[in-house]
């Protein structure tokens, strides 16, 4: 980071809705494909955007366990919602990708990844934390995934601080939100209401700073900044869901045989939805396909899930044949073994697994039940 950035990184800039539009145009002008939230099929998903008008302007999401609905907010907010069924991993770590092609003559063509100039608009604190988790797994371990690395290389991130946490959000418990902390080029706090609509913007990198300057963003006034800060203070206080992470890893290790798992297995569909929507679940399987004439073989990677029987297949059979063992594998990985593997929890508190479970199984409730069950057993 240059000297200019060091001195100006704490500076707050002002963007009105037109200035925000110019930010998107400037990114596109610099050759970025811009991705952001859009409304599709009754939900807010991530897709390519060319203009701020394509964002879910004035929309809010109502979420509950196994429940998601959109409604009108009655204002013109660009980011008046939280996270939906998609996560940014679909761009960084695609659902299906060809790894290599082999010809019958033995010529091998490897996919070493393709660099793409991608800009993500509207990345939340929990999602930045999720990208950091993926970095630890796919970039910072002993094995680097070239496909992820290439897509990550030129990534430009515009983060958005969450001023209104959703019903299933518990990022505050996980220390990942509601404010974007690191890992962005520009962060935005949206202020809407009482006749005003603007963003307070901060630079998180040299590129972010120069972009803000290029679109002519002025410094925000003290009053503009303090309104944004008030919003964030309110946000901190308005969380409805929480997860007690105190000694959680040890708790789960002590209670591998907790009766809670058998009970949750009665409700669990083993359908994989929680893992597919999770922004940190990175498990894949590899398929090898051949052409009919046998001239070409291809190796493909696609998202897989620990809730699939075949996922734990080794010679002789699958290790986790019951729904109980699969749910336990997932929960203990997210909240315990992940810490030993990668140094952080695999859960960032985004709440997607709660919302998108068709039967509404709530990871925070199940963890809490395990905590209570231990106390009850001890009391006996």
């Amino acid at each position: 980071m240059g000297a200019s950035f060091e001195s100006e990184k704490t500076c707050n800039y002002f963007l009105d809705p037109q200035g925000f539009e110019e930010l998107i145009l400037a990114l596109r002008g610099h050759g970025y494909v811009v991705y952001g939230p859009v409304v599709r099929d009754g939900a807010i998903v991530y897709d390519e955007v060319e203009s701020a008008s394509q964002l879910p302007v004035g929309m809010r999401d109502r979420q509950g366990p196994g429940y998601y609905r959109l409604e009108e907010r009655g204002d013109r907010a660009f980011f008046g919602f939280v996270v939906g069924p998609h996560s940014w991993k679909k761009f960084l770590y695609p659902p299906r990708v060809k790894l290599l092609t082999v010809s019958k003559k033995g010529e091998v063509t490897l996919n070493n990844g393709e660099e793409r100039k991608m800009a993500f608009i509207g990345v939340r604190g929990c999602e930045l934390a999720a990208i950091d988790v993926l970095d630890r797994v796919l970039l910072k371990g002993p094995y680097i995934d070239p496909i992820y690395a290439a897509r990550k290389k030129s990534l430009f991130v515009v983060a958005v601080n969450c001023t209104e946490p959703g019903e299933n959000c518990f990022c505050a418990s996980m220390g990942t939100g509601p404010e974007a902390k690191t890992g962005y080029d520009i962060s935005l706090t949206e202020v809407v209401g009482d006749g005003v609509h603007y963003f307070v913007a901060r630079a998180g990198s040299d590129e972010g700073l120069s972009l803000l300057k290029r679109i002519g963003a002025r410094e925000a006034t003290r009053e503009e900044v303090s309104r944004a800060e008030e919003k964030m203070e309110e946000s901190q206080k308005s969380f409805r869901k929480k997860l007690n992470v105190n000694g959680l890893k040890e708790l789960l290790y002590r209670n591998i045989e907790s009766p809670v798992y058998a009970e949750v297995a009665e409700r669990c569909l083993a359908c994989t939805n929680c893992t597919m929507v999770c922004p940190t679940c990175f498990c894949t399987t590899v398929e090898e396909v051949t052409s009919l004439n046998g001239d070409v073989a291809e190796r493909w990677r696609r998202w897989d899930s620990c809730f699939n029987l075949d996922f734990s297949y080794i010679h002789g059979g699958s290790i986790r044949s019951s729904r109980l063992s699969r749910y336990r594998q997932w929960l203990t990985h997210k909240l315990a073994t992940w810490v030993d593997q990668f140094g952080v929890m695999g859960c960032v508190g985004c709440g997607r697994c709660i919302t998108w479970c068709p039967v509404g199984i709530d990871i925070t409730e199940e963890a809490e039940k395990i905590r209570r069950a231990e106390v009850e057993v001890a009391a006996k």
Binding site: R40, D41, G42, A43, V45, G66, Y67, Y68, R69, G84, P85, H86, K90, P95, R96, E266, R267, C268, L269, A270, C271, T272, N273, M276, V277, T285, E287, E288, V289, T290, S291, L292, N293, G294, A297, R302, W303, S305, N308, L309, D310, S321, S322, R323, R326, T355, W356, C357, P358, V359
Partner: protein
């Protein structure tokens, strides 16, 4: 020496012919299939018949008559590898709805002289009668899955036919879950993948065309549908379709 092309036979039992049509519908690949296989017996495509034995037998349809039950044993003897294609051959098909009532009463309504009809009381899958090497699901089958099974056979490898829920396919293509976002009952969470999750992509709940997935939990899904305002009878009827007789779906009853 020129390698002998494997001989394929395609057979039909009680069925609508939709799965055989899926084979013919492989228009872009038919020439390549003909280059790599000898299509030796496929009455839906040609009346020219090459004598067996055959390397692969593809069987469509369920066993519904005493004659069928004998014929499938002969076919099994004549085919090195026997693959069932579709819900009828794999699970008994829509015609297995008779299995709850028996065929006598239905025949009375359908045929003027039911005494001329010789039929079994139940419609049953091929695997109830002879050993089956691979069961390809679907009503109808996904023609690309069939192509994959045939390519795998030629290469001597296991076919990539994932044993997972339709939900995985929805998520891979980015479809928003209609149960969660619209309150639409959908059999996706208990249904075997393979179709590519077509119906939910168009706002319709999964009909369960590919039959039960492994480790399915119909009780939990039933409970969810009741919460969404469906009656127990309606939920049971949603399972009584092409794969009604498949173990896993068969046990779903109106009375818990």
């Amino acid at each position: 020496m020129v390698r002998r092309k494997p001989k394929i036979a395609v057979y039909k039992f009680a069925s609508c012919d939709g799965c055989q049509l899926s084979v013919l519908d492989l228009e872009d690949e038919l020439l390549s299939i003909a280059e790599n296989f000898e299509i030796a017996y496929f009455l839906e495509a040609s009346r020219a018949v090459v004598k067996g034995p055959y390397d692969i037998g593809l069987v469509e349809g369920s066993i519904t008559t005493p004659h069928d039950a004998e014929l499938i044993k002969e076919i099994r003897k004549n085919c090195k590898v026997l693959i069932t294609i579709g819900a009828c051959a794999t699970a008994g098909g829509i015609q297995a709805l008779r299995n709850w009532r028996g065929s006598a009463e239905f025949m009375k309504y359908v045929y003027a002289t039911p005494e001329y009809i010789e039929t079994l009381d139940k419609s049953t899958p091929i695997s109830d009668h002879v050993p089956v090497d691979f069961e390809l699901r679907g009503c109808p089958i996904n023609k690309y899955q069939l192509l994959e099974v045939m390519s795998a056979f030629l290469a001597g490898r296991a076919p990539n036919i994932p044993n997972q829920s339709v939900c995985v396919e929805c998520k891979l293509r980015g479809t928003v879950c209609i149960v969660v976002a619209q309150g639409v009952p959908c059999l996706g969470p208990v249904t075997h993948a393979g179709c590519g999750a077509i119906c939910p992509a168009y706002g319709r709940g999964c009909y369960g065309c590919y039959g039960p997935k492994e480790s399915l939990n119909t009780n939990a899904l039933m409970k969810r549908f009741l919460e969404l305002g469906r009656s127990r009878e309606e939920v049971v009827m949603s399972f009584r379709l092409f794969n009604a007789w498949a173990p896993g779906f068969r046990e779903v009853e109106a009375k818990p």
